[in-house]
């Protein structure tokens, strides 16, 4: 269920400017993943690095498909 936990965390971040700042300031993907796991756990959303990478792949697919 950690994919579901990441989605809960993602929705929470979209409503929280402080969490957004903390994640935006990461310099690269490994740092982002580490920060996201840490912040997620602090908000009772437990997910793995692979869950984030899968979400990234899905977001990329979604972005490419949504052309008008």
């Amino acid at each position: 269920m950690s994919a579901e936990a990441f989605e809960r965390f993602r929705l929470r971040v979209l409503e929280d400017a402080t969490l957004q700042d903390a994640l935006r300031e990461t310099p690269d993907t490994p740092a982002f993943v580490a920060r996201a796991i840490q912040l997620g756990a602090a908000h009772d959303c437990h997910f793995s690095a692979e869950d984030i990478h899968e979400a990234l792949r899905a977001a990329r697919r979604d972005w490419r498909q949504r052309w008008i």
């Binding site: 957004q20 994640l23 982002f32 984030i52 990234l56 052309w67 008008i68």
Partner: protein
Amino acid sequence: MDMTPDLEGWMPARIHLDGGQPRVDWCHLGGQRFTEPFFNETLERRLRHPFALLFRHQTSMDALVARHAAKPGLPVRGLVFHMSRCGSTLVAQLLAALPRHVVLSEAGPVDTVLRAHQYVPGVTDTQRIEWLRAVVGALGQQRHPEEHAVFLKLDAWHVLELPLLQRAFPGVPWMFLYRDPVEVMASHQNHRGAHMLPGLLNPAHLGLEPGQIAGMPLDEYGARVLAAICEAGLQGYRARTAQARLMDYRQLQPEGLRVLTELFALELTDEDTPRLRDVLERNAKNPVLPFEDDTEEKARRVSSHGRALAEQWGRPIHDALEAERLRGDVVP
């Protein structure tokens, strides 16, 4: 019911259809300026960071319009129309070289709202104008203290909507760039632009019935598209309601900067000169390469059939544009 999020710092990156209605995808651009040759390149660069890709707001068009009412953005100071492959990217790069400008170069969301009536039934011109202003206002938010003006470098086919764009941005000066039709045809034969393929443009805009396009050779279709775009530029210029300039590609290197400065009242400073010189010395679409005039190479490369079509459809309107330009630019 749309729960509108806090959109401070977010940009409408894309507009897509959801259940037949347009929805806005918002991306956080941070402090990244639009300095790449095209809007989409800036966006793609930003989307390499996982935050930008994973965390995007989605809202209705109404939320975008409401945002515009609350935060209208920087004023639009110039519009750049063109027939494609004629130096318009250089113009955009010159404007973007000055840090006080926000330059939206062929921005996808601008194109989407301009074509909204083609895929959402019942969308009126008034609605398109409202959406257009809202998109440009959201993209043209001041994100650096020195920024004070927005310029739109449009897609080639947007000159077909020039009357609507003038209504959306009344009094804003504009230019239309064009080039010898054989050279433009040569460029498209090498790598065809989206507007040179049937499907993107409404056939009525080209003076064609839908049935006429089926079976029409691609080069003929493309030559007719280029002619229609140039015709719209010429007719728009003759009916202009703001300051406007016609500019041939050959004028760009010697005179482009002066024309831009005059038309858009740029007020250049000493610091601007090296920035602009740097742009002029590079390939506009691939700034890591130096500029090379490819006029002769293009004229040599075009097929004889392409040349004949460019002469048939493009030469008369190119000549008419040149004649109009040489008559001089008169402020209306």
